[in-house]
Symmetry: C2
Subunit: 398 residues, 2 copies
């Protein structure tokens, strides 16, 4: 008498996971340093020294009950205050601790955001290409995730399709900028137009439509690219943040929900997150990690390697004639495959020990993702394999 | 358009929380050391030195990606292996890592257990007196928690009422031994009888009935008391464990689900937990805490203070003529109030700066809970207040 819906999920295996397992197995044969594994979005740079120092110092000097005791449900008050102050300073919106709910990474933050504003059967729209875990995240709440097809010219928003799909049943729109998998940062124009449409539709339908903004890549933005603050454009914005990428600590499950201070229900929503967490069994992120992160809010790991890698890969792809939107941030790039079926393309790449992920998984068939959070040396060596791959399989020369 | 069910929960305020806030406010007036605050079940003893040493050593010596990287969804394999080995050694059941799912404390473990075996509308039975958070934990999954009235003579199980309530709709039975709030440990006889009934009813109804065993107090058992392993008695047992009390780190949110190796679906259930966690947004407990806890699995904090406190309080209560079952473990005791309405009784106690929690909250009106996870010195001083309270209010002398 096990619950069938979870049982049914056991047979489905993530394509990314399969490719990553292939890479690990192949690594055992030829040495992992020779597998050009672009499958997984795992940060490759160390945590900032200050984080480790803070942890050690707290462990060496603080009373253990102070360090490891229960956190109040919305998070440790001093931590929430520091997060709010940092957001206010950075984005100019009047964040206070009452707008902040500490969560277990972006996944935890999103789990609360979805439950805040959707009942089973309600729709959430997101935009392809999109992070495939959004499906189980949303589906298991009972809400319905619908995916707006991509604008493949820019990987900004396909507004024509969006307006068609933005029916009365849509209670939330979910965006992810800088974007996994495209690496694209939504422009000011995109966010303004999105907000205008949402405001009009709120009035037309007579109900709120919330913008859930998944921002784990916020700190990874490349030179010359503007990454506007989503909350600035639209009052009903729920920001979902994770420190996983900015501080390279995805395993510590730390992030937050920050409801826009201009949202009329902001404080109530944070209080509701506390109630939601009683059902999800989450309570709050680990106390010691909350305390340590609060000391390094304005620091990041050395993220420059991602831009170096991006430029190497982007330039090579362009030289080889690939169609590719230049990433503005993240550690992903999302070029068009050299044949219609990207699954076949990625399968052929494996012969060259190039592990690429077909775009079908991300709602954009015909494209593929490379997660370049790997050593720059390996990136360089992979370009030789890439050249050989496209020459031998597709007759393409730079 | 916020979700009403969570909004509705905002008005309800936990009695325990209110009393704890009273204690804190009163502490500001007269000094917290003079408030005999028995409201909260927060461990009062430090974490074992070995835990802190392990944390510092790992931080000082390990690669940060190794320490803070993503944990696989069911937990870090080496950690799951060590947990399984420790359980096998201790309880003689053939636990393997495939039976272990690392979870965010007991709350996280329970959130997964409930979702494994109940669909919305299914019933879960628990036994009064019970931990009041079981209500939101279960209710928010859509299942229905029903509470079997207490056997007030022993705070073991009221089997007559249990058999009446164990209908075809019951998919799981939830127990908590050693028990919050009674401090009672279920005896071998109780567990054998419970298991016999469940086995019979499984056959009669033609479906599994799971025993969800919430065991955060497993390590806090007093001299001469036998605390049998629940899983030993019944194959379909889902053990939910937390390190919050045994290692005094409730804020770090670390525990596990251990499905009985004799349960025919054990490995499938752990795989299902991974799927469930995609919906709850939990992923896994923090990597560094998983790694550190795995090094101190067979250690505990110095828990002896709880037994010292219990004996002081129990002896005083008996001398004053209270009706009280002697706790076998935990840091709770659950005596009968000196008037019918325990809420009134506890209200009067506040005049003496004694913060006691009425049993109504725990499904046992007429009783009250004392959480004696406080300094022994304060316990001693509180007994003077207790004597004064019962003498002045009820004319009772030792």
């Amino acid at each position: 008498m096990l619950v069938q819906k979870y049982r049914d999920m056991l047979s489905g295996k993530s394509v990314i996971r399969q490719l990553s397992e292939f890479a690990a197995a192949r690594g055992k044969e030829i040495g992992y340093e020779n597998v050009f594994d672009y499958s997984l979005g795992n940060p490759s740079v160390p945590v900032p020294r200050e984080f480790t120092d803070t942890m050690i110092q707290m462990l060496a000097t603080k009373e253990s009950n102070e360090l490891h005791g229960y956190s109040p449900n919305p998070g440790i008050p001093s931590v929430r205050e520091k997060v709010a102050a940092s957001l206010e300073k950075r984005f100019g919106l009047p964040y206070r601790k009452e707008h902040i709910f500490m969560a277990s990474g972006a996944a935890g933050a999103l789990a609360h955001a979805f439950r805040l504003v959707t009942e089973p059967g309600d729709e959430i729209l997101t935009f392809a290409p999109f992070f495939p875990e959004y499906h189980p995240y949303v589906d298991l709440t009972g809400a319905v995730l619908k995916v707006v097809p991509p604008d493949t010219a820019s990987f900004q928003i396909n507004f024509e399709k969006f307006e068609e799909m933005l029916t009365d049943k849509v209670m939330a729109v979910l965006i992810n900028t800088p974007n996994n998998p495209s690496g694209v940062v939504y422009s000011r124009e995109t966010l303004e137009r999105l907000a205008d449409i949402l405001r009009k539709k709120q009035i037309q339908y007579g109900h709120d439509i919330f913008l859930i903004s998944d921002e784990p890549y916020r700190e990874i933005v490349f030179a010359g690219v503007e990454s506007p603050c989503v909350s600035y454009f639209y009052d009903n914005t729920i920001m979902c943040y994770s420190f996983s990428k900015s501080l390279s600590l995805p395993g510590e499950r730390i992030g937050y929900v920050a409801v826009n201070p201009r949202c009329p229900y902001a404080e109530e929503m944070v209080a509701m997150c506390v109630q939601i967490s009683r059902g999800t069994g989450h309570n709050c992120p680990p106390s010691i990690i909350q305390l340590a992160v609060a000391e390094v809010l304005d620091k990041t790991s050395d993220l420059s390697v991602y831009e170096t890698n991006m430029n190497l890969i982007y330039n090579e792809l362009k030289a080889l004639g690939f169609t590719c939107v230049k990433p503005g941030g993240t550690f992903y790039i999302f070029p068009k495959a050299l044949e219609e079926d990207a699954k076949v393309f990625c399968q052929k790449a494996l012969k060259y020990d190039l592990v690429l992920v077909p775009g079908d998984t991300f709602g954009a068939p015909g494209y593929f993702r490379m997660a370049y959070c790997i050593d720059t040396d390996k990136v360089r060596r992979s370009l030789t394999a890439l050249r050989r791959f496209v020459a031998e399989e597709y007759g393409v020369q730079a």
